[in-house]
């Protein structure tokens, strides 16, 4: 009986240890289904993303594991896909090409800044973190700046790139939920 228990434990340990791997492709964002904006929210609102600025200390660091540096390198593109996914539900999100970011006077202009994007191992769990901030403007006047932190804590079964990507996407979806509400608020002209 004891042998069976040890074999099971060894099997689990082997499973946990043998998996994992190095990310060899860019991270892909997958959006979770979102609720439509509340009544009077952002119907017909044009959101012009002027720029996505990378403010991280290092563009190649992804936290406590060196296996996911490929993911770190493409974080700005991953954020761009995530912000683009806010398009719809009566909102039109347009992302300007770098250096051409000028908004039409009626549009809500947004500058997205990336502050953190990383994973960190916690014994047999893993936390994924993303921190963004948006500066909102209209007709050249800054309306406000809001910070968005998305976080996900999950069991680290395999530490595979797919598992890490799933955690980062879950964290990003948390951040986007708050960002979506703010877009509705700013689109409706309610800044406070």
């Amino acid at each position: 009986m004891s042998g069976v228990r040890w074999a099971s434990a060894a099997g689990l340990a082997a499973l946990l240890a043998a998996c994992g791997g190095v990310a060899t492709r860019p991270m892909q964002f997958v959006a979770e289904p979102r609720q439509a904006p509340s009544a009077g929210g952002g119907a017909g609102c044009l959101v012009n993303v002027l720029a996505i600025e990378d403010k991280r200390d290092s563009a190649s660091s992804f936290g406590s594991s060196a296996n996911f540096e490929q993911f770190a390198n493409n974080v700005p593109d991953w954020v761009k896909s995530a912000v683009k996914s806010l398009d719809g539900h009566g909102r039109k999100v347009v992302i300007s090409d770098p250096g051409t970011g000028t908004a039409s006077p009626d549009a809500l202009a947004v500058t997205v800044r990336i502050h953190r994007a990383y994973v960190h191992g916690m014994v047999t769990s893993r936390t994924s973190q993303v921190v963004l901030s948006n500066q909102y403007e209209r007709a050249g006047k800054v309306l406000g700046t809001q910070f968005y932190r998305g976080s996900d804590t999950s069991v680290s079964w395999s530490s595979s790139p797919e598992e890490v990507e799933g955690g980062m996407n879950a964290a990003m979806n948390v951040a986007l939920a708050a960002m979506s509400k703010d877009l509705d608020r700013y689109c409706a002209g309610k800044q406070n």
Binding site: G63, S65, H115
Partner: protein
Amino acid sequence: MLRAKALLPLALLAAVLSGCATPRVVPMHGDATSRIKSTELVVVLSQQEIVAEITASNVAAAGGGGLLLALVDVAVNKSRADDAEQAIGGVRNALLDYDFPKQVRASLERELGQLGWVNLQSPTRTEMSPSATKINEAVARSAANAVLIVNVKYTLSPDFSLMKVNAEVTGHPRTDELTALAKQARPDLDPPLLYRNSFLVANGAGGPFANQAAAAKAWADNNGKTAREALDKGAADLAKRIAADLELARANAKAGGATAAAAPTPGTR
């Protein structure tokens, strides 16, 4: 008496195991301190934010193993990680504009700069990747006589009462002469090391606190004032301790030299 007898095999096992282990600390070779003409400092800090420690569940080990108990450990660890992550969010938000790597660099440059024999080069390199390959490349690329790698981590203790800053420090030779000295002192090490030691400093936020959330609030209040002060102090104390440990080798070498000079050499009377 019976209890003491029962503990004897354990004590014996511990003694045997510790005897077999390679000594972790490598004191700076005294002779090396007069031969280092330049040192490059590399600060490795892979964390983007402060990390919460959790106490690992040990049910499987205590219960003799087994898949079910291992799964209990996984579930308990997940629950503790959830609680810790929930509580630490406010501290992280309060520290978003705080540049801890800069504090560490400045403290190390200040303290090591006072050790003339280290001949600290400028600028200090910062490596944000924990990759051993990248760290080895940083050593290999260096044009200095020696490279000092300071690998720093900063955490909140499991109950959030202490802000901990710890560092693994290694000194790497980059000249034939220093490499030979390192190999002579510790032939068992590959790659050869001139120096290796670990340091930990911890500062509290006052307290005691009723729970993690209360402690987290104390760290985060006033835009993280207490956390910032603890990290500033942690970086400063860490740098002082590293410098003091390195200087000890220099002092010991000098004392050894003085003793040798004072002692009559056999056959010279």
